[in-house]
């Protein structure tokens, strides 16, 4: 069994992930520890499975680093519980690195 979600990067965040802007990932369910696939757990999974180097450019402690917005199904994750949101099948999670240039 697996939980399939779409993982997207924009604004330069994709440079940390082989420049792939969009991919479908299959998360194993149930998780080994029986817990839910929160975004908190998903970030750990991303770090361990996809992030090749320099995790500090993506994560800060157990959350996302300042300057990266997280959108779940086109909504700011702040509206739906941030780290505690539980992923559902076919969710789209988009990480946007904020631009400052002009």
């Amino acid at each position: 069994m697996s939980l399939e979600v779409t993982l997207e990067f924009s604004g330069g965040a994709e440079l940390l992930f082989d420049k792939i802007k969009s991919r479908v990932v299959a998360l194993p369910v149930p998780r080994p520890d029986g817990a839910k696939w929160t975004i908190r757990a998903f970030l750990v999974w991303i770090r361990d499975n996809l992030l090749k180097e320099r995790p500090e450019l993506f994560l800060q402690g157990d959350t996302i680093r300042p300057g990266i917005l997280v959108l779940v199904n086109d909504q700011d994750w702040e509206l739906i519980g941030e780290l505690d949101y539980e992923l559902e099948a076919k969710d789209t999670i988009l990480f946007i690195s904020t631009l400052h240039g002009g």
């Binding site: 330069g12 500090e56 680093r65 300042p66 086109d74 700011d76 946007i96 631009l99 002009g102």
Partner: protein, 284 residues
């Protein structure tokens, strides 16, 4: 509207006929534009097209803040400037460019960096503010000044093939600091000097900023309030996202703000200078 019509002069009626035909603008809207004062911070890749279209649209007063001079490498995208004006202050060049398209537009130039000391004095003279700057420290400063003076802020940014746009502090929605309470670590910020930018990408975002400001000025609904518009120039895709609500715990627009009219030290807050020319390890 008979009285209103009288306040558009004959020249205005001829010049703005394409606006007067539209029910969304008309005489009333054109008069609102004429009496509107819009400040653009940064006369670069975003500010150039924004100022051009705001001046062309009939905005009565435009303010321009920039401390820099026109450089040859600006001309790849900063279409308000010109070869013959290389070396002169960007705000002076901008005023010349604006006068070419609409000499009736009153231009107020501020040939300086926007700072903690001058921001409120400058911003208070304008009704709407465009953030066309190029670094986080200035973006936080503009935001805080707009919140403290209760001005809507149309904020654009661009890098490489991508652009972003949001209108902050409008209709009770979030400010920049609500969305980004903590600044990015300086080493994670890439600017156009380091990463490059395709000129037309800045053009698209800058013109969109002008459009949003024109709509706010005439009383049409702001399209990017509590919305983030992303433009991916590689794919030619635009996407919009709903942002969070205003945060009651926001340091500047929250219920118990800690940032007041003294403002703060923005370069210290961001750990980086208020310009895009500081070399540093920048990857993202």
């Amino acid at each position: 509207t008979a009285a209103a019509t009288e306040r558009l002069n004959k020249n205005d009626v001829a010049r703005f006929s394409r606006h007067l035909l539209m029910e969304e603008i008309g005489v009333t809207g054109q008069l609102k534009l004429k009496h509107c004062r819009i400040l653009v911070v940064g006369a670069g890749g975003l500010g150039s097209p924004a100022l051009l279209y705001l001046a062309a649209a009939g905005v009565g007063t435009l303010g321009v803040v920039d401390y820099d001079v026109v450089d040859l490498n600006n001309l790849q995208r900063q279409v308000l400037h010109s070869e013959t004006r290389i070396g002169i202050p960007k705000v002076t060049s901008a005023a010349i460019g604006i006068a070419q398209i609409n000499s009736a537009c009153q231009v107020r130039t501020f040939n300086c960096a926007l700072t903690r000391e001058n921001a409120l004095d400058i911003v208070q003279n304008f009704d709407i503010v465009l953030d066309a700057s190029d670094n986080p420290a200035t973006r936080y400063l503009i935001n805080d000044a707009c919140v403290l003076l209760d001005r809507p802020l149309v904020s654009g940014s661009a890098l490489r093939m991508e652009g972003q746009l949001t209108t902050y502090h409008i209709n009770g929605g979030p400010c920049y600091r609500c969305i980004f309470p903590a600044p990015p670590v300086a080493t994670t910020v890439t600017n156009c000097s380091d990463g490059g930018v395709l000129g037309a990408v800045t053009g698209i975002i800058g013109v969109l900023q002008a459009l949003e400001a024109v709509k706010i000025a005439v009383g049409l609904p702001a399209a990017f309030a509590q919305q983030l518009l992303l433009f991916d120039g590689t794919l030619g895709k635009f996407r919009s996202f709903k942002l969070r609500n205003r945060r009651p715990d926001c340091a500047v627009c929250g219920d118990q703000p800690t940032i007041t009219r003294d403002l703060i030290d923005y370069e210290a807050f961001c750990g980086s200078a208020a310009c895009d020319k500081t070399p540093s390890l920048k990857l993202l």
